[in-house]
């Protein structure tokens, strides 16, 4: 019984982390039409940055706010400096640009923090309960709940607010959106700001799962597989996708060992894509729009 509970807790916390990380990819794709390969590095730097800010200020709200603010500014900078000059070029150019950005930010992270392992002193550390002999930390619950909240927030934003719908329109067809009076600069800039802000948040949340080290990049890449399993353009698919992938991985760690389990998210991805190329909850048309 304790085994099962342990597995469930691991599933919940890992799945929650994956879902939150995957949200960054979905947000970026939904509102700019670009797969943001720089996201894993942004998450790592976001985590490191917030931890360093906390050491500086000794106050969580301040560190978080500053981290988010800096992340948003960085996102705006990326858009204005690197992605806006690429307008008019095919989408693959923008994607390659994000790949270049990935390495740039990763190099920066290495130079500045030198592969350090940082413990994210989040509030509520140390609180936990025992269920069937297994420890359930408050952080595990937070990890499970956070992405659900985020998914709800995003769904409401994209479905109901004018700005959200405009951002989706801009991602689909910027020229038509401009013709209809949408400020595409604002929409695209905002999409990047939100993407990097989510990256910072995700990095902080990752600190709730364990210490922050460069391995977080690999976790974020696995979260990309989660985003695709759920459907790259679907916020609703985040939670189901994360549960499927995290479930497979948790079971694999238990029965196959931690090394082989690294490949499991990608095997699941290949399986899902082969059967359902647009992901569990994605829209069919997305595939043909690529």
């Amino acid at each position: 019984m304790g085994e099962v509970v342990r597995l469930l807790i691991d599933l919940a916390s890992l799945g929650g982390l994956y879902a939150f990380l995957a949200a960054g990819y979905v947000v970026a794709y939904r509102t700019s039409g670009v797969v943001n390969f720089a996201y894993p590095a942004c998450v790592l730097v976001g985590a490191y940055l917030t931890a360093s800010l906390y050491e500086l200020t000794d106050s969580w709200p301040l560190a978080l706010a500053a981290g988010l603010g800096l992340g948003a500014l960085a996102g705006l900078g990326f858009y204005l400096g690197l992605l806006r000059p690429l307008t008019g070029q095919p989408r693959t150019s923008a994607v390659m640009m994000t790949v270049g950005l990935l390495f740039l930010i990763e190099a920066l992270a290495r130079l500045n923090w030198r592969g350090a392992t940082v413990f994210m002193p989040l509030p509520g550390a140390g609180t936990g309960w025992t269920v069937s002999g297994q420890l359930v930390r408050a952080h595990d619950l937070a990890l499970a709940a956070a992405p659900v909240g985020l998914a709800l927030l995003l769904t409401l934003f994209y479905r109901l607010t004018r700005l959200g719908i405009s951002m989706r329109a801009v991602a689909e067809n910027p020229v038509l959106a401009a013709r209809r009076g949408v400020d595409i600069e604002l929409a695209l800039g905002l999409s990047w700001v939100v993407a990097t802000a989510v990256a910072v948040l995700a990095g902080v949340l990752a600190g709730a799962k364990g210490p922050v080290n460069p391995g977080l990049v690999q976790v974020s890449i696995k979260a990309f597989a989660v985003a695709l399993v759920g459907g790259l353009d679907s916020v609703a698919g985040l939670v189901p996708g994360a549960l499927v992938v995290a479930g497979a991985e948790v079971l694999a760690v238990r029965y196959l060992g931690p090394h082989l389990a690294e490949a499991v998210p990608f095997a699941v991805l290949l399986g899902v894509l082969t059967l359902r190329p647009w992901g569990l909850c994605g829209s069919r048309e997305e595939i043909y729009r690529v």
Binding site: G88, R168, A169, E172, E285
Partner: protein, 261 residues
């Protein structure tokens, strides 16, 4: 002659610095009327519309000569958001709606913040039944209706429609055009139609321009165009008497005759 809303004077547009799309184009769009530009594919009609609405930049094209005037003000080379603020709306030929968004979302995006987007349902009641449907699943006629509604929500001064009849059955086109004209009388905007289907364009227009190979080769009131022998032959499909000319003869004929008279 009523006031001119838009005036092009000797406009030349060049794509990718090497390909001239239109040359020496001069035309006037009278305020409050219906003006038609007809011509075959590649005549430069869409480029003319793009030059007026300012969307050349996205395709590496520039106005290299001439002027474009809107109510006397020069708007040559103005970026799209400035021309949009003047009240210039263009319904493009392809990709005229957001396919992944529902009809309702399409309308919400196009509506300026100070207006109510459900006005579109007053303009086109059919859309109200389709509000939740993704625009990609609408039929051709419904998409065109939606595109027109989206453009009209912004209460434009000038509505330019590129190939209204493209891909639509004649009955649907006739109905849509009728609706459009009715709305024009109600809302009072100027309509500039670019059409390959010269028959319907000339049936509804006040004034018309014929473009070929990037130039305006004929201009006149719609009545005059309808009566002109060459236009009747090549754009309206009438044949004089029994002699049906062969394709080769027609070509030579066109080369020999001069349009401007």
């Amino acid at each position: 002659m009523t006031r001119a809303l838009v005036e092009l004077q000797g406009v030349e547009v060049v794509y990718h610095r090497v390909a001239t799309a239109i040359q020496g184009v001069s035309l006037t769009v009278a305020s409050g009327g219906v003006t038609a530009i007809i011509g075959v594919n590649g005549a430069g009609k869409t480029t003319t519309l793009k030059a007026i609405s300012g969307f050349l930049g996205t395709e590496d094209a520039r106005v290299t000569a001439g002027r474009i005037l809107f109510e006397g003000r020069e708007i040559t080379g103005w970026p799209p958001h400035r021309t949009a603020r003047l009240g210039v709306a263009l319904v493009p030929e392809r990709e005229k709606v957001f396919e992944t968004l529902t009809v309702e979302e399409n309308l919400r995006v196009s509506c300026p913040p100070d207006r109510d987007w459900s006005e579109a349902f007053d303009l086109f009641p059919r859309l109200a039944e389709l509000r939740r449907r993704p625009a990609g699943y609408l039929s051709g006629g419904e998409k065109q209706m939606l595109a027109l509604a989206m453009a009209l929500l912004g209460r434009p001064r000038l509505l330019m429609v590129d190939e209204l009849s493209l891909g639509l059955a004649p009955a649907v086109t006739a109905r849509l055009l009728g609706e459009l004209l009715r709305l024009r009388r109600e809302l009072g905007f100027t309509l500039l139609l670019v059409e390959q289907n010269a028959a319907i364009a000339l049936a509804v227009a006040d004034y018309g321009y014929v473009m070929e190979d990037g130039r305006v080769v004929f201009a006149g009131t719609a009545e005059r165009l309808r009566q002109h022998g060459d236009i009747r032959e090549f754009y309206l499909g009438y044949r004089e008497g029994e002699d049906v000319r062969s394709y080769r003869e027609v070509k030579q004929y066109r080369r020999k005759r001069r349009w401007w008279s």
